[in-house]
Amino acid sequence: MSTEAAPASDGVAGARAGTGFDLDRPWRLHPQVSVRPERFGALLYHFGTRRLSFLKSPALLTVVRALDEAPSARAACRLAGVTEAGLPTYAAALQTLAASQMICARGQT
């Protein structure tokens, strides 16, 4: 798990509320994860770990699906319409997904 903190612009934790999650790296969906869109967002099931995650936001689903092609998680968030103000919440959500191996940094399995 990466513990690199993004630099805070004004010392407030805002910009690094995603402590441990690097928004500026490229990420990808783990190849063993099945994504099933639902009305409320999506269900993610990891066939290797047998863990199940509920994504309770359609925007978060868009972010997750955009990860593979986007140059960074931040770019994927922007693509999904996430505002600067909303970034920390999405970063934290992505951190949860990274911690359960639903997503992983590109360049590693």
Binding site: V12, R16, T19, L52, S53, L97
Partner: protein, 40 residues
Amino acid sequence: MNERVATADITAPDQAAETELAEADLLVEEVSIDGMCGVY
């Protein structure tokens, strides 16, 4: 969505992480694949 952030306290990283995870719970909820009733 308003920005709600944990004040980063470098001496208590666990608290910050926990609060951040609490935020993430809004968008991501994990349930055990065995956590659904109706499977014997």
